[in-house]
């Protein structure tokens, strides 16, 4: 589906009340759709990015807002769990950079083309992705034990 049609379908399903929730678009059209939303339709304000896990996939949600008409659009893409990868929109909306880092950190979804995809909330060397449903609440934190310095010779 080309970008103008996506936007048209987005707008067709959009009602006048603020904060109407989302529409799903194909992952391959994410960048074109958001560029069109930003440049053509005035959705220049980035609201939030979040992820939701389901049995077989991750749902990535980006919310953008048109500050003139005061409409907020929730744009969703679904990525399969066995290959959790999606295009980064950090170059379209600078505000997505940290939100995408957070989703990578907590869910383990890779964002292709992200300028600086590192952990943001958890420690850099942390092994898991805590917001996955398979991550148990009682998982140990896994702090590293500080190594005691060796005693100086002759003292």
């Amino acid at each position: 589906m080309p970008a103008p049609e996506i936007v048209a379908s987005l707008e067709a399903r959009f009602s006048a009340t603020p904060y109407t929730l989302g529409v799903e678009i194909p992952a391959a059209s994410l960048l074109t759709a958001l560029r069109a939303l930003r440049d053509v339709h005035g959705y220049r304000y980035y609201v939030l990015g979040t992820g939701t896990e389901s049995a077989t996939s991750f749902e990535i949600t980006h919310a953008v807002r048109n500050l003139e008409s005061n409409d907020t659009l929730f744009v969703k893409v679904v990525v399969p769990k066995d290959a959790p990868e999606v295009d980064s929109i950090a170059f379209v909306y600078a505000g997505a950079e940290w939100q995408e880092r957070e989703i990578w950190d907590l869910f383990g979804v890779t964002f292709n083309g992200h300028p600086d995809l590192r952990r943001i909330l958890m420690p850099d060397e942390y092994p898991g992705h805590p917001l996955r449903k398979s991550f148990a609440m009682d998982t140990p934190w896994g702090y590293r034990k500080a190594e005691a310095p060796a005693p100086e010779a002759g003292s």
Partner: protein, 383 residues
């Protein structure tokens, strides 16, 4: 030594990486900044966050809806009621739970008082950040905390708690306002309003303060929108967006609300917006106290067995204007008594993201002034 002319040699030492925080007094909590410096000029700034990450979103998936509101009051600890307000709004929208009109007014009442309290803490700590420029800095801090102390006493009398008021519950509020408290609220508003010129003369009226904040940390309109900064920080860049006006919740649709904006986008503009917001909030609490409708304050009591309180399947987003900006809760429900997924759209997280964009090119001394003007709360950033 001979008495020849003193030769000044300027050497280029290259870039110096300076680690500021996480235990630095002017980072307002546990924020770490890695500053790359060339002399006194910041070349690159990398914020490192997560030191206060408590996994609130994960915890949310393991507690029932009725148990969660007090948990979020610990997120943004300078305006706890705003957090629980946004959360209960989202749950009420999802479950189509009615809220009495009086409760909606009372929610706005406590939110506005906490906005005043939060802005007073911000002003005091900004004074500390700018330090020597303001007569040691602690003077302004103490004057702000003197006013805030009266306010906390008032909230304690109203709710039993000075801080984490636990005021909001799903379907209403917990505590009612009696005529004696209304009188106290009006007297308190008048006394804080009388103190505002004094606070202003110690900060905005000071020429050194002007020098430290004017044209410092300028955020342009385009950058503000792309990064998605919010609240007073956004309004100081000339964008008149306020959730209270744009998507009225609680009683804000019926209240005379003035949206304060400035166009300069620098630290001074952010200071002015917050100062004016204190006055606006004081007007609002007076308007609420005078026009408070009568009636019940809740439609449903907290359940004895919270796990029985199931909500319909669906997805919802509700936001409030916290003192730091748009604070939203995005809840995905699978029809059980616990959220399937809950995302907190934290204003401080979004505002802090502007830091790598505006620090480069400025001086080291400006870093603390800019951070202070952004007013991040690290509990809100890291959740």
């Amino acid at each position: 030594m001979s008495g020849g002319p003193i030769e000044v040699v300027e050497r280029d030492f290259g870039e110096l990486a300076l680690n500021m925080g996480p235990q630095h007094p002017s980072t307002h909590g546990v924020l770490r900044l890695i500053l790359h410096l060339s002399g006194e000029t910041v070349v690159k700034a990398i914020p490192v966050i997560g030191y206060l990450h408590r996994g609130v979103e994960k915890l949310s998936e393991h507690l029932a809806y009725d148990q969660l509101a007090p948990v979020y009051e610990r997120d943004d600890y300078l305006a706890p009621t705003a957090n629980s307000n946004a959360y209960v709004l989202a749950v009420e929208r999802l479950g189509a739970i009615a809220v009495p009109r009086r409760a909606q007014w009372l929610r706005a009442f406590v939110s506005e008082w906490q906005r005043v309290s939060s802005h007073l803490v911000w002003l005091g700590t900004l004074g500390l950040d700018l330090g020597g420029a303001l007569g040691g800095g602690t003077t302004l801090y103490m004057y702000c905390f003197r006013e805030r102390e009266k306010l906390l006493d008032f909230l304690e009398e109203l709710t039993g708690t000075r801080y984490h008021t636990n005021f909001n519950l799903v379907g209403g509020v917990r505590y009612d306002l009696d005529p004696a408290m209304v009188a106290k609220s009006n007297a308190l508003a008048a006394s804080i309003e009388a103190a505002l010129p004094e606070l202003w003369s110690m900060s905005g009226g000071n020429p050194i303060f002007e020098e430290r904040t004017r044209n410092v940390g300028v955020i342009s309109k385009d950058l503000a929108m792309g990064v998605g900064i919010t609240g007073p920080t956004l309004r100081a860049s000339g964008i008149a967006f306020d959730v209270r006006k744009a998507a009225p919740y609680d009683a804000y649709g019926e209240l005379p609300l003035e949206v304060i904006t400035r166009t300069a986008g620098d630290a001074e503009a952010r200071f002015q917006v917050r100062m004016d917001e204190i006055a606006v909030s004081l007007k609002l609490v007076k308007a609420i106290a005078d026009g408070l409708p009568s009636g019940p304050i809740f439609t449903r009591k907290p359940l004895k067995n919270p796990k029985a309180g199931k909500l319909p399947k669906g997805e919802v987003y509700a936001a409030v204007e916290s003192p730091r900006g748009e604070l939203g809760f995005h809840i995905v429900s699978d029809g059980s008594a616990k959220p399937y997924r809950l995302k907190i759209n934290a204003p401080s997280f979004k505002n802090l993201q502007i830091v790598p964009h505006i620090l480069p090119g400025g001086l080291v001394a400006d870093v603390v002034a800019i951070l202070g003007s952004l007013d991040p709360v690290l509990g809100d950033v890291d959740r």
